[in-house]
């Protein structure tokens, strides 16, 4: 204890230590902590802080209720496990693309000629569905009020059909909620999905109607009938499977607890 008390405290660098809260040392217990400073703010940042505190508490509660036990090892190490696996999958896929392009190279047609329309105009295969939706002329409604006139041109109707299809796909997660994951758990939505896939296929076939040896009216009816049939079959099959699961579960239950 060689220091004298009347000397002002200094840092190692020889600067004076300010004890009024403006320096690096808190003068006393009155100095607000960072947490308190956050709490004192007003308006939106205050609300953000309060919500985050609640959310953290919620997480903590869920963690404490959970039965999940942490392992010693938190996950596969990036190197070498993940890296090697990803590299091998990546080389396999790129190899597949190179193989396809070496064996089936594309050719090029005659140059553009605005004065001669080819007999068959088609986009790439992945746009057939959209192209097929442009051929919905027979179901463009005619209104009796307008003396049987169509409410919109056929091609406008086709473009709107595109928007309707994409919109229908977009709202799926807002309609179908809950924690069910497997198709068996929700036969209806699986049926909708299968119907949609079959419709994507049939509408593509409708797009290339010139190349299909089926009369166009029949093809048109099949386009809308097949998806419904496929959806219905899917629904029936999945319902039956679910009954089977329930039967197994019940049997196991009554084996363990036989009825008195």
């Amino acid at each position: 204890m060689t220091d004298t008390n009347d000397k002002t405290p200094e840092t190692d660098g020889g600067e004076e230590v300010r004890a009024d809260g403006t320096g690096i040392v808190a003068p006393d217990d009155e100095t607000p902590t960072w947490r308190e400073r956050k709490e004192r703010t007003t308006g939106l940042s205050r609300l953000t802080y309060e919500y985050f505190e609640r959310a953290r508490r919620e997480d903590q509660d869920l963690r404490q209720e959970s039965t999940y036990v942490e392992r010693d090892v938190l996950g596969f190490p990036t190197w070498p496990h993940e890296t090697i696996r990803n590299l091998s999958i990546a080389s396999f896929f790129v190899g597949m693309i190179l193989f396809l392009s070496a064996t089936m190279p594309p050719h090029i047609g005659p140059p553009a000629n605005p004065s001669s329309t080819p007999a068959i105009i088609l986009p790439d295969w992945y746009l057939y569905w959209s192209f097929g939706l442009l051929k919905l002329t027979p179901i463009n409604p005619e209104l009796a009020i307008l003396d049987g006139q169509k409410i919109m041109a056929d091609r406008t109707y086709g473009v709107l059909a595109n928007i309707v299809v994409v919109g229908a796909i977009a709202i799926v997660p807002f309609l179908n909620k809950g924690s069910a994951r497997r198709p068996v758990e929700e036969p209806f939505w699986a049926a909708v999905g299968v119907g949609g896939v079959v419709f994507a296929f049939t509408i593509s076939v409708l797009a290339v109607q010139n190349l299909v040896p089926i009369a166009v009216p029949l093809l048109f009816d099949l386009t809308f009938l097949l998806p419904v049939v496929a959806g219905f079959v899917t629904y029936a099959v999945l319902k039956t499977m679910r009954e089977g699961y329930m039967y197994d579960l019940n049997r196991r239950y009554y084996r363990l607890r036989p009825p008195k």
Partner: protein, 264 residues
């Protein structure tokens, strides 16, 4: 059949008792909506601890956590379709950049410069035929993989509650992939390209109200011309690459943040 949903904290009740202004209500609703999906809280916490721990490990996957490896391996090909489409995108980007060295989007001359440049690439350029083939096939593969990826996500219910945002981004991405394909289809300026372009113009003209404006913007007029080809080229090699690459990064980033949704 499925895990029971845990009770949530009553954030709505909390908001009700706070007597908030409309601005505050909107703000909090948006914040809560985003946070329940993207766990912003966790990442703030991580920022706090990041300084102390630099530890490169992959997060534990759902399969590991619930010990599903033994039941799961035969579904794996379906779960790697997203990686497959990303890879095809990268291959297409590289081969496309190389093709861009030789292609020029001009409709002058007979046959047009665009067409004869493709001819040059295919007949005279070293490896040109293969280069064009790789570009085209990677595009085809990407579209197919993206479509199958969407089916996988649908049938395993992976689009469900905290992941709606990514489903929407995915829909935008699959649409943009098709626009990529369409604009690329027009670039050789052969018969098929020309008449597919014609259909495109007619489609955009038949959009209610905004049709003429859209046709003018995308195709540079109501008939196909130099302007059309040039716009298709810029959309294909400049606009879409920026937009799609950014969206893919966000899409994968959100998957990273939220974790893979596997059925169980």
């Amino acid at each position: 059949m499925s895990l029971e949903k845990k009770d949530e904290f009553d954030h709505k009740g909390w908001m009700k008792e706070k007597d908030l202004t409309p601005v505050e209500t909107t703000y909090l609703t948006a914040l809560i909506w985003l946070d329940t999906r993207l766990r912003i809280v966790d990442y703030l916490e991580i920022l706090e601890t990041l300084y102390y721990r630099v530890n490169l490990q992959m997060p534990k996957s759902h399969t590991e956590q619930y010990n599903l490896d033994n039941k799961f391996w035969y579904w794996y090909p379906l779960y790697t379709l997203g990686l497959f489409s990303t890879l095809a995108y990268i291959v297409a980007a590289i081969s496309g950049a190389l093709l861009g060295f030789y292609y020029s989007p001009a409709t002058s001359g007979d046959p047009t410069t665009a067409y004869s440049q493709i001819e040059f690439i295919m007949t005279e350029l070293q490896f040109g035929f293969m280069l064009r083939s790789v570009h085209r096939w990677s595009a085809q593969v990407m579209v197919a993989a993206v479509f199958l990826h969407m089916l996988r996500v649908y049938f395993t219910g992976a689009y469900k509650e905290p992941r709606e945002l990514n489903w929407l981004i995915g829909i935008v991405l699959i649409s943009l992939t098709m626009v990529f394909g369409y604009t690329g289809y027009l670039l050789p300026w052969d018969q098929l390209a020309f008449w597919a372009g014609q259909i495109g113009v007619e489609m955009s003209l038949s959009i209610p109200l905004a049709g003429e404006w859209v046709a003018q913007l995308l195709f540079g007029g109501f008939t196909l011309s130099q302007a059309t080809l040039q716009r298709m080229y810029i959309i294909h090699v400049f606009l879409l690459p920026f937009v799609v690459t950014t969206l893919i990064a966000i899409h994968i980033g959100i998957v990273w943040v939220q974790g893979i949704a596997e059925p169980h």
